[in-house]
Symmetry: none
DNA sequence: CATGAATGAGGTTTCATTCAT
DNA sequence: TATGAATGAAACCTCATTCAT
């Protein structure tokens, strides 16, 4: 079975109802600006310290409100965490999946995927988000806190990539697909955590040379 | 400046004395069996839940001893964490660095590095260790708990790899070095966290094809 | 060197910042009522059981609040102890020192000192405070917990008293000064700990007769 | 009612049986040298840190034995404390009481009492013992741990002293008696805790001058 | 006698959460 | 909305005591 990559089914969580970022359950809606501030602060802190390493007090302090106030906007620390997760999936993962759809030739799709990934890794605003996601990827215990199945979001990609490498005449299409994904994944990681030895141009060139240069075999 | 990769300077920690795994402060040594049990249980749990997600009580329970007994063998939760870190660095990172030393040709060294990495990723016993290390990589806050500087162990590799790709006549040696490292790093990650879509042979074949096949350029 | 007896330098503690009784770090100020209750309860208990003999739980119980709530008002058990110490020094020791200043004749100063001391020993509210201070005087280990040097508060007195006895023409001024101080000290002790055999009038009469009766020598 | 000062009824404690210092219950008896070492170490430590401020581990460490071994010689920390109390009462308080018995004139008895007290305050070996006793005097909570009633040992003195001052023709015999006792008490305190401003000769001279010089009135 | 090991109660402190105002 | 205050569970750690060897 092959999942659609852009099918948005996060919200039908088995863990029960949880709200979108912008429309709280208990409130009218117009000035939920404070809501955003809290979520932003929480993302920053979670990215650095992990779920258990961050206290509600710390989030409140960073926003500049009282601890109690947090609970007017969100019903628990866990809910904040879930909302952030969903938000990031939507903003970061879904567009990425979009790069693979459409009618472009395989090499273009793969190139677009790489470009999108490397671009995202560099944007200041994404660094925290990526950090955040790695926390979750790395701590299976946290999956219990999440509204949707984490692996649900990663698995499908591999199935989409293999045919593309086949189409390109790659000698080892399945391995290439895995490696490609792993590599892009890791580029995010490295871009986020160790920007000092992350050189976008050099890496993109290497990717072009090693994965996206269909000519090299023809030259032989 | 280029660090030696096998220089074992972890123990000269700025955080002060901490003991090696086998010669604790309070124990003579003959049956350090219980000690091992505790460390093993702790590694398992830390790998799943992260430092803050694991309680000393949980560790004790898994070993089947009382909470207080843990403190007979270790002076704090943090000490356990540090000892595990050092142990893993020694058992996993140092041998990896060893693969790059000696007089073999560049391609052999790079192949050895990849083989060692992929092998390690598969060994059941390493999975937890890798999990554990990613926790730390991903939570900068935890670095404060560690006896030695975390980045100290990762940075030097990049400097060692570039000349090897140059020696191989690679078109983009620096980018290749970065990519190679990132990719192997990520193989560990994927092997540990998502063994379901980790196919060692396919990946190794792709690596051979894309990074270690010097012939393709000569053919052109 | 002779310290000024009323120089208030307690707060410039080497142990770092700690707040006065009335202006804590976390509290605005209006109803510091609970704060006072806690401090009062703590003083009572410390006076009976000593620092290590009293648990935070016990303090909370006596006030009728939860253990956790104590930590909303104070950051640690030790801080409570320090604040009590400072408070008592200010309320009990400093006024005592004040009795020795000014231009009155020696005999008046000494009499005032004795009166103040005996009065203080009788006031119900001071009993605990004196108890409290003796705990500290008697347990050198506790000095480490204190914000200022304990002996700093006692030593200077002796130097102030000797000249007064000289001025009175006492036959053994230095011994008298020591004895006088020791005696008053002990009056506090006895008044606090063994009120059953503490007779203020009898003692004051004896003090007048033995220390403050300059006429007896002139009669000779 | 007037207690006899030398009546040795400590051991008939209401708290139940407890053994003398030299003859343990569970052991033959010959080499209870280790017992002494433990008691000595305990006294030293208790004198500094109070009952609750000292751990059995600390006592064991100072003696150089294992914690468990302490429990071969004594059945509990409390028992050690009790034994030390009894020992000190016997060695320090009882001889003091002895000074008041016999047929000597009042002034000689009072002088002997003062001499004994001041001597005891100076002997190195008594400093800890006095420290120890003050701990107890100052922490009413500890009285519960003791085998006999603490006040039992102090109260009788006052009744013995008043007649002596009467016999001397003192103007305020009861006050004098109280003050005398208080003062000597405090001399111990000061001698033990603040030896720096304790000058035995000066104090003894002042005592002679103020309390024991019956001639001054005759001079008048 | 002596020790290393183990236990469990209890100590200090933290923290998610609630609630009155 | 927002806060200060309060709670109670649970976290880390200590320590008196026991026990097998």
């Amino acid at each position: 079975m092959m999942y659609s990559l852009t099918d948005r089914s996060v919200s039908e969580s088995p863990a029960g109802e949880h709200h979108t970022l912008e429309s709280p359950a208990r409130r009218k809606d117009i000035p939920p600006q404070r809501r955003r501030q809290i979520l932003d602060a929480a993302r920053e802190l979670f990215a650095q310290g992990g779920y258990h390493g961050v206290t509600v007090e710390a989030i409140a302090e960073r926003v500049g409100v009282s601890k109690g106030n947090i609970y007017w906007y969100f019903k628990s620390k866990q809910e904040i965490f879930q909302l952030l997760f969903d938000d990031i999936v939507e903003k970061l993962f879904l567009p990425l999946a979009g790069a693979l759809e459409g009618e472009a030739p395989a090499v273009e799709k793969l190139r677009a995927l790489a470009r999108y990934t490397l671009d995202a890794a560099e944007k200041e605003e994404n660094v925290e988000a990526l950090h955040f996601m790695w926390q979750i990827g790395v701590q299976p215990e946290l999956h219990k806190l999440l509204p949707s199945d984490y692996s649900h979001w990663v698995s499908p990609f591999i199935e989409h990539l293999t045919p593309l490498f086949e189409e390109m005449g790659d000698a080892t299409p399945e391995g290439a697909a895995q490696l490609y994904l792993i590599m892009l994944d890791a580029c995010w990681f490295v871009g986020a955590l160790r920007p000092d030895f992350y050189d976008r141009e050099a890496i993109m060139a290497a990717i072009e040379d090693k994965f996206l240069n269909p000519g090299r075999r023809q030259d032989a």
